[in-house]
């Protein structure tokens, strides 16, 4: 029972960080059809920027969080303007490779600036453990779950109620019709990248608190794919559910089965979903079939 509770909490908290990264992926995919392989590196950027702001400059953490989000958004806007925009309308392979190239650059830069060895900094999520019955749960992980959910809810509300959010849905629906209604596509793409970076940066900051500041954070970028395929490529709700399911699956297989199976289970799920229900749990049922 104690094991089960611990695994559940660690699985859910990891899953919610996956969900944050996946939500960013979904926002970009929805708006611009770009398959973003840099999601993990945006997370990495968030982790190191908060380390930079809090541990190296010495800002109080509330200000540090703000600065981190702003810097991450600025970086994403620059990426969108300089790299993605010239490639609008190119084939999928180009879009995949350009984000892979970006990912390589970001990773190289972060490593060059901050070095490959793990860094420590004073955690701003509560440290220590909470005892619930027989289980010892990490307080940081427990707290990260509602924070992530709040951010994801905010994203969801953004899509439903704000002007930019509705514009984004319109573009996802029919780009030409949206254009003719006076929606500025470059603006929407910019907003999408900004949101994705903010969401990933928040995930990255929490990850920095939970697992520490290391370059391995970027590895999460790949876990985005099982999550979004399971949840549906164009659904924020799907990202949350997918993140939770994949996070829990990993935690349980890691805890009860072992053999490194937790590393491969998400991809097995991915293949199964692709074979049975390629649009995922909540995705729109339009898919290019052969």
């Amino acid at each position: 029972m104690a094991d089960f509770l611990q695994l559940t909490v660690s699985g859910l908290s990891t899953g919610m960080i996956y969900a944050l990264a996946a939500a960013g992926f979904v926002v970009i995919y929805k708006a611009s059809d770009v398959i973003n392989f840099t999601q993990g590196d945006l997370l990495l950027l968030g982790t190191y920027l908060i380390f930079f702001a809090v541990a190296q400059i010495g800002l109080p953490w509330s200000l540090g969080v703000l600065v981190t989000i702003l810097l991450a958004v600025a970086a994403a806007l620059a990426i969108e303007r300089l790299v993605l925009r010239p490639l609008i309308g190119e084939p999928i392979i180009s879009m995949i490779m350009v984000t892979i190239g970006l990912s390589s650059i970001l990773r190289g830069l972060v490593n060059a600036i901050w070095g490959p060895s793990p860094r420590a900094f004073e955690s701003f999520l509560p440290a220590g453990t909470v005892e619930i019955g027989p289980a010892l749960l990490s307080a940081g992980r427990l707290v990260s779950i509602p924070i992530a959910l709040a951010v994801l809810a905010a994203l969801w509300l953004f899509f439903r109620h704000t002007r930019d959010g509705i514009a984004m849905r319109a573009i996802a629906d029919d780009q030409q019709a949206a254009l003719s209604m006076g929606i500025s596509i470059p603006r929407v793409f910019g907003v999408a990248w900004g949101l994705a970076a903010a969401s990933a940066a928040i995930g990255g900051m929490m990850l920095g608190n939970i697992v520490g500041v290391t370059p391995n954070v970027a590895a999460i970028g790949l876990h985005v794919f099982p999550v979004v395929i399971l949840g549906g490529l164009d659904s924020i709700r799907g990202a949350v559910v997918g993140g939770a399911v994949i996070g829990l699956l990993e935690a349980y297989t890691g805890g009860y089965v072992g053999h490194g199976l937790n590393l491969v289970v998400p991809y097995v799920v991915l293949i199964l979903v692709l074979m049975v229900r390629p649009y995922g749990l909540f995705g729109k049922e339009i898919i290019e079939r052969v």
């Binding site: 392979i93 350009v98 892979i100 990773r107 692709l274 390629p278 052969v290």
Partner: protein, 356 residues
């Protein structure tokens, strides 16, 4: 296929030849001579790089068959190379097969695995296929590390040196001939493949799959054949690496390798054979150049040396992006521009007007 003014063919045979114009044959001959002479003058360091380029060319042509010619995106090329390397290594080690036999068997085995992982392509396209092959890569990678009984897990497999007539073949100089022969055979096979019915079907599926099926191309069969051919050469590249290094470890066949090979064909030019060679050369030599530049800087700026691996990573990404933005057709197109310029040199009136 380009049509040149001033070149007249009086027979179909010459018109349909692989390299129909004399200047093409001269260029090929010069290149062949350079390749044959190179090892007698090169230092072991450059020979080693040349071997890497030759092996990478085999793999890159293989990937180009699938991605460039057939339009199926694969992020699992590294996994296919792994299958080839492990198969070749284990066949030699456990069954005692001669190295040549196990390389051939490994290629066919990899082709079979390629067909298996190509099955999703029957239902999925574009992005979805890319993600499915990503999953295939991760699953194969996991199997390499965790299927200890077969692969030895994280322990490397050490192979005996391949021998031919008593010669040890895994020295840089001796292996050069094998690697170059393999690269040349791959290039020749592929050039001819795309003059054949099967190869034309690949291109038809890439350009417009529905139209292709309307004119009678069996899409499923064609896609699986493309996966099989592509993985066959991936297996060959993997097996060559195994025997060249005499060691097989999973680290050589991670997702990064799949990405490196995709970068090769993007930078070289999708759907061209010479592009595969150019891309393989550039992407293989790039880290070496950066390392050399770093060594040169080491005396003036010692802390730069520590940054080298990251500089390599960043420059790798930068090269991909620059090519995608400024020359999406890759080095192959640049080479074409150069040829066009000299075609009627010094009269420049045709410059830029001549496309593929």
């Amino acid at each position: 296929m380009s049509y040149e003014c001033g070149v007249f063919h009086t027979r179909y045979r010459s018109d349909m030849g692989l390299r129909p114009r004399p200047v093409q044959r001269v260029r090929l001959a010069l290149f062949a001579v350079a390749v044959l002479v190179f090892p007698f003058f090169a230092s072991p360091y450059w020979l080693d790089l040349a071997n890497q380029v030759a092996i990478a060319t085999v793999g890159a042509i293989g990937l180009n068959i699938l991605v460039g010619y057939t339009g199926q995106i694969s992020l699992g090329h590294g996994a296919f190379m792994a299958v080839g390397a492990y198969a070749a290594g284990l066949l030699t080690l456990n069954l005692g097969l001669p190295w040549g036999v196990s390389i051939v068997l490994a290629c066919f085995l990899t082709a079979a695995v390629g067909i298996f992982f190509g099955l999703p392509s029957l239902r999925l396209k574009g992005l979805y296929l890319a993600i499915a092959t990503l999953a295939a890569q991760e699953i194969v990678q996991w199997a390499m590390v965790n299927w200890t009984a077969l692969t030895g897990g994280t322990e490397a497999i050490v192979l005996p040196a391949p021998r031919l007539f008593g010669l040890r073949l895994n020295s840089a100089f001796n292996f050069y001939w094998i690697a170059v022969l393999a690269a040349a055979a791959t290039a020749l096979f592929t050039a001819n493949l795309f003059r054949s019915r099967a190869g034309r079907a690949f291109v038809a599926v890439r350009d417009q799959d529905i139209a292709a099926s309307v004119i009678g191309v069996d899409i499923f069969r064609t896609k699986l054949l493309a996966f099989a051919t592509s993985s066959f050469f991936a297996g060959l590249a993997g097996a060559l690496i195994a025997f060249y290094r005499s060691i097989v470890t999973w680290e050589r066949f991670t997702l990064e390798i799949s990405i490196v090979y995709l970068a090769m064909i993007i930078v070289g030019g999708l759907g061209t054979i010479r592009g595969s060679l150019f891309g393989a050369a550039l992407i293989t030599l790039l880290p070496a150049f950066i390392t050399n530049a770093g060594r040169a800087l080491q005396e003036t700026a010692p802390h730069v040396a520590g940054l080298l691996p990251y500089a390599q990573q960043a420059v790798f990404g930068l090269v991909i992006i620059l090519f995608l933005i400024f020359e999406p057709k890759g080095l192959s197109k640049l080479w074409g521009n150069v040829k066009d310029y000299f075609h009627v040199w010094p009269f420049a009136y045709r410059r830029g007007s001549h496309g593929e």
